[in-house]
Symmetry: C2
Subunit: 148 residues, 2 copies
Amino acid sequence: MVDILHRVGIKSPSTADTYNALTAIDGLSNWWTNETTGESKVGETVRFRFGDNGFFEMKVVALDPGKRVLWQVVDGPQEWIGTKVDFELKQEDDFTIVLFKHQGWKEPIEFMHHCSTKWGTFLLSLKSLVETGKGSPYPNDVRIDNWL
Amino acid sequence: MVDILHRVGIKSPSTADTYNALTAIDGLSNWWTNETTGESKVGETVRFRFGDNGFFEMKVVALDPGKRVLWQVVDGPQEWIGTKVDFELKQEDDFTIVLFKHQGWKEPIEFMHHCSTKWGTFLLSLKSLVETGKGSPYPNDVRIDNWL
């Protein structure tokens, strides 16, 4: 098992705004993909579509307000199904720290390398959204390679 | 053992320019840190300084022109010493693909999360350097959190 790990720090007086951007559908739409639908409640699913490039469907496993969001992938690319996406939040002075883990990959395949870099750019999009009101969600996301 | 993985694709007709940016001291200076010194030859060391924030000293372990650059960390932060930084290059149509691995971390500590995100931004700086002639090396690098 190998994991994708990231850490971003968001200038924000508390974890509330970042938590909202990770749980409200219009929050998620403004940093990951503007094609976000579903219900962000424990036991329900949220679907993230990226035009013709595919989608991820996440079951919301845990929500701890201001502290943690945990999803499990229930549909999407084969390699993602069953993996978990974990956002832990904590406040350090003026920064909300996001500790991110995408856990449960079976093998460190080339697609995992791509997803690692891509998650980094999306987490910086989340940072930008909370700090400035504007993120870079799909279809305006940062292109990192020939797989978009 | 846990690894940091990334994949970027750089619009370039061959791997030559990217390989040069990973091996020439003035190439490295233009995407990672402008305080790069040393000799980029197998068995020699290259030192990457980030002002008062610290440095990494890498022994060049392998150089395969156009294909691979492998370093081992010999000095710097305790958690980095002994780890390996591996850049594999290949050409896919108009893109030079960089498969990046920072291997040999003992534990998935918070600092590793930070370094993963930071490597992503530096690899996008490498992409920008090769594609446009201008990267974002330290001290003009992307700030990702309260650890810079």
